[in-house]
Structures are given as C-alpha cells and as structure tokens.
C-alpha cells in the first residue's frame, strides 16, 4: 500500500528551486557575498556615487589627509593624492576597473579553457595530445613574468590586460574540465546520444557542456582573486591600466612615491580595497567548491 502511495506522490516535474536546495545554505559566506555585491554596485553606479572627478584634481588641494586627521576636510573624505585628486572617487572608479578587468578576463580565460578542455577530453587522440602538451608547457612557464613580458610589449591598455590575463590563465580551466569530460563521456547518456546518431559537436554542446558548467563557475570564482591581484601587480609595475585611469594597483604605485613621508592613506586605502575583494572572492569560491563540486575539493 505505502509503496504505491509513494509512487503516486512522486513529483511530476523537478522542484523549481532544486538548484538552491542543492546548495543547502548552511555556512553560506554572507559577509563576503555582501562585500562583492557592494563592490559591484559601486562599480555600476560610480558616476552617481563619486563626489569628484577621479581623473582631474586641483593642485591647490594636493596631499590632503583624510577628514579625521589635522588638515583634512570633509570635502575630500579620504584625502587627495599628488595631483590633488580625490582618493575616494578614485577608489570608487577603481572598483569599476577591477570588476570589469577581473570578470571579463575570467570569462575570457574560462571560455577558451573550457572549450579546449571539452574538445581535448572528448575527441582524444592527437588533438588531446596537442592541447595537453600545450597546457603542460604553458603551466611550466612562470605566469607573472610571462604576463609582464606580454604587457610590456603590447603596451598599457585595459583591454590588452584582459587579453593577456586570459592568455595566461586559460590552462587551469582546460586541465580540470578535460579531466571531467573523460569521465563524463563514459556515462550512459552520452553513449545513448552517440547511438541516437548525434554528431560530436552536438554531444559536446548539448550533453557535455551543461555538465561541466558547475566546475567552470567554481574555478572562475577562485580565479577572480588571482586575476585581480595580477591586474593590480601589472598596474603597479606600470604595464597595466594606463594613467590617469583610476586602477587600485596604479594608485598604490603613485602612493609609493610619498610613502616615506608618511602619507599612509595613499597606500592603505587601495590595498584594503584589493584585499576585501580578493578575500571575498576566495572565501566564496572555497565555499562553492565544497558545496557544488566534490570533485574539485582536492584542488
């Protein structure tokens, strides 16, 4: 009796928020998420939020300290830099640079790496050999040095940096995704698709891709921190985002000039912003990895 009743009550369609239920929101890193969403909000509404123009300063107001220090004014809440530009406004617009560069570079690397990973894993044979040898050699090279070289040759520009970061970091996706595809392609549903006469491309697109998206998203979240630090490093070294654009790494580079005379606000504030963003991305990525993807736990 009870078994038939159970069969009758089986849901006819999957529950609407099965995905969320799978996440089981216990231990959800709320604060990091709020910080990331906050930074994204600031990045989108930078024009409305920033009290001053981030790229134009007044030389009369150079090196003003934050408002609570002697000599500071409420006009420049977090002080001004060597050209009299408002630090707060530059931080706000810097969030936009970090977000745009970080997210587009992660997506760029992700699309390239995932595509090649799927092709490599599914087709196998010489294609697999070729792509994996490429990945191995790429991973053997020092990533940061390589990125500095490319950036120095290509010249400073925000979009060059996105492409360079993508070129530098696609390999990490390719290797993980290929490993997943190797086990996926032995599964029943893929074999059935082959029997049903689907072409290789259809199988890769319709059957393999949706099953590796989870891993790609988790990797992407974890890569966001790495990419943002690399962007800041390149900007700090003068081969990243070109001045006068307000990038956090660039602000640190400017601030270094007057560090020895104790103008701490030019060094502390941009660094804290980078730290908050990277720390949040890392915590969120770690949590997602454990929740969504048991296979990635050992990463």
């Amino acid at each position: 009796m009870s078994t038939s009743a159970e069969i009758l009550t089986l849901p006819s369609r999957p529950p609407r928020f099965a995905f969320l239920r799978g996440l089981r929101l216990s231990g959800f890193p709320l604060i990091p998420t709020v910080i990331l969403v906050g930074i994204a909000f600031v990045a989108v509404f930078a024009n409305q939020l920033a009290p001053h123009n981030p790229e134009v300063g007044s030389l009369a107001a150079r090196f003003k300290p934050p408002f609570w220090e002697t000599g500071g004014t409420m006009k420049y809440l977090l002080g001004t830099d060597q050209l009299g530009r408002d630090v707060l406004s530059r931080l706000i617009f810097g969030a936009r640079v970090s977000m745009v560069v970080g997210i587009t570079a992660v997506i760029f690397a992700g699309v390239v790496g995932t595509t090649l990973g799927i092709i490599s894993g599914y087709l196998g044979g010489w294609v697999d050999q070729l792509i994996m040898r490429l990945v191995d050699t790429w991973l053997a090279l020092p990533a940061l040095t390589f990125a500095i070289f490319l950036a120095a040759i290509a010249g400073p520009s925000m979009w060059n940096i996105v492409i360079i970061l993508g070129i530098t970091y696609w390999t990490r996706y390719a290797r993980v995704i290929r490993g997943e595809v190797l086990s996926l392609k032995e599964r029943e549903f893929v074999r059935l698709a082959i029997v049903a006469g689907c072409s290789k491309w259809t199988i890769m697109r319709r059957h393999i891709l949706p099953n590796v998206i989870n891993s790609a998203v988790v990797l992407g979240t974890l890569m966001l921190g790495v990419v943002i630090i690399t962007e800041a490093t390149l900007s700090f070294l003068g081969v990243g985002v070109p001045p006068p654009q307000p990038a956090w790494g660039l602000m640190l580079s400017d601030g270094k000039q007057s560090l020895m005379v104790g103008r701490w606000w030019l060094t502390i504030f941009p660094g804290v912003c980078i730290m908050l963003m990277v720390l949040s991305a890392n915590i969120l990525g770690d949590w997602l990895r454990v929740k969504l993807d048991p296979q990635l736990r050992q990463l």
Partner: protein, 306 residues
C-alpha cells in the same frame, strides 16, 4: 626509467621551444620590433639600419633561426641602459635573487611546517582556525602591498628596519616576509593535509596502540612521511619565488633579477626584458625537469604510472 627521463627531457625542450616561439612572434605581431631595439627617439634612418642589421627584412623563418642561434650561444643582446651584455647582467643579479628566495623559503618553511602540524593535530580547534585565517590572508594579500605596509610600519613609523636596498641582514627581513607569506600559506595547507592523511594511516594507529607517547608518534612516525610532499613543493616553489619576486624586489629596491626585469620595463630597455624573461622561463622549466626526474628516482610508482 630511461624512457621516462627521455620523455621528460622531450617535454622540457618542447616547453623551451614554445617559450622562444611565443617571445619571438609576440614581439613581431604587436608591432615593429625595430622600434623596440633602438633607443627612444631614434630617427627613421636608424630604424632602417636596425632593420638591416638584425635581419628584420628577411623571411620570418630565417629570423627565428638567427634569433635561436644567438640565444643558444648565450648572446641575449646589449642593454641600452647599462651598456653591457644582458647575459652578464642577469648572472650578476642572480645571487641577490637566490639570497632573497632562500630567506623567504626559510621563513615560509619555519612558519608553514610547524603551524601545519599544529593545525593537523588540533584539527577543528583554535590553532586550526587561526592557521586557516593566516593561510587565507597569505593567499589573498598582494605581496607588494604587504611590502608597502611593512615599510610604512617598520621604516616610517617605528624606524627599526631600512626601507630599501641591500647589504645587511636587516635589509632582508621585510622583503623575505612579504615574499614568503604567500608560500608559507601554501606550505601550511599542504603540511596540514599531508599530516592528516598520515595520522589516519595504519602504522600510526599501531604506534599509538603500542602506547608510544603522542610527541614520539607525531615527531618520529608521522612527521617524516608527511614531510616528503611538502619538500617537493618547496623545491618547485623556490624557482617560482625567484620569478614572482619582481614586485617585492621593486618595492624594496632589492637588486635581484626581478628588479632587473622591472628596470627593463620602466626604461624601455627591450633586450633586458626579453633576455630576463627567457632566462627565468628556462630556469623554471629546467628545475621542473630536475624535480620530476629526482621524484621518479625516489618513487618508482611515478615512473610506472606514466
């Protein structure tokens, strides 16, 4: 074994080939390399002369052959700024990089291994959580910012340590910390997980059943085996440190290879940039090869598995 080593050397040569190819073509795809080879402000006649002198008017394959021939004979060109051979410059700076990397490595191991063991022994307790926070910060803070904050605190406010340069052991403390924190975090994580694995193994359980004191079980039986993967990682990390040190060396004006690369970029001294990247890449690939071979010699499972 012989086959394994031959194949590894093959991969290594492939990596080096790919590195040279990338450097060679990227320079030519993104613009006229002649403009990079002459000093800023050169006349069109100078550029034409450079074109001819370096064979830039010849077919790409011939150019690549010439490029490789000079690289293989150790000729990486002349620095515009220092007016000496890039090869010599690199070797004169390398000892400083090795010194900094040694100090940073010592710091990262002295901090990473004991804290990793402590975290594994007290898993889920206070020291484990403290270790997690330390590791997370180490992996999330850009090393150059750590360096800047250290300068602000210990040089500007407290006046205890010199902010830049080299010469005394005191000069080494802050750069080694800024560079080593990230690696201390990764060494700590690996020590912890490796130690947890060993602590759960049969022979450790047996040692406990024999009634050995906790200190002896951890110090003698578990620790030695847990250390192997950590030391392997440290070996590879040592070379990575030398390349990653670019930013830390820039912050502290430490005269290593990384600083040389930065100077090359800042002064638009192209031969220095190209030579340093080539040398750093070659060094990384070679050390990876040596570690792979040593590992296969020590552990037969690896050469059999591949």
């Amino acid at each position: 074994m012989k086959q394994y080593i031959v194949r590894r050397i093959g991969y290594c040569l492939l990596s080096l080939f790919l590195l040279s190819l990338t450097i060679f073509f990227f320079v030519r795809v993104t613009g006229d390399p002649a403009t990079l080879l002459v000093e800023p402000g050169a006349s069109p006649d100078d550029i034409a002369a450079i074109h001819h002198q370096f064979g830039l008017d010849r077919p790409l394959l011939v150019q690549y052959g010439l490029f490789m021939a000079s690289v293989l004979t150790g000729d990486l060109g002349q620095s515009f700024y220092y007016r000496t051979s890039v090869f010599e410059l690199y070797w004169s700076r390398l000892p400083y990089s090795v010194m900094l990397a040694t100090a940073a490595m010592a710091f990262s191991l002295l901090l990473g291994i004991p804290s990793g063991i402590l975290a594994a022994v007290r898993v889920g307790r206070f020291w484990d959580s403290a270790g997690k926070v330390f590791a997370l910060l180490g992996l999330s803070l850009p090393s150059f910012w750590v360096g800047l904050v250290l300068i602000l605190v210990f040089s500007v406010y407290l006046g205890w340590l010199p902010s830049s340069g080299s010469g005394t052991p005191l000069h080494l403390i802050m750069p080694a910390f800024a560079l080593g924190w990230y690696f201390a975090a990764s060494h700590m994580r690996l020590t912890r997980s490796s130690m947890l694995e060993v602590l759960g193994s049969e022979y450790v359980k047996l040692a406990r059943l024999k009634g050995l004191p906790q200190a002896l079980v951890i110090g003698k039986h578990a620790f030695k085996n847990a250390l192997i993967p950590v030391l392997t990682l440290a070996g590879i990390n040592f070379v990575i440190m030398i390349s990653v040190a670019v930013v830390v060396e820039t912050v502290f004006a430490w005269p290593g290879v990384g600083r040389l690369l930065y100077e090359g970029v800042a002064f638009r001294d192209f031969p220095v940039v190209q030579g340093t990247v080539l040398m750093l890449g070659a060094m990384t690939v070679t050390v990876n090869l040596i570690v792979d071979i040593l590992y296969a010699v020590i552990d037969p499972r690896i050469r059999l598995a591949s």
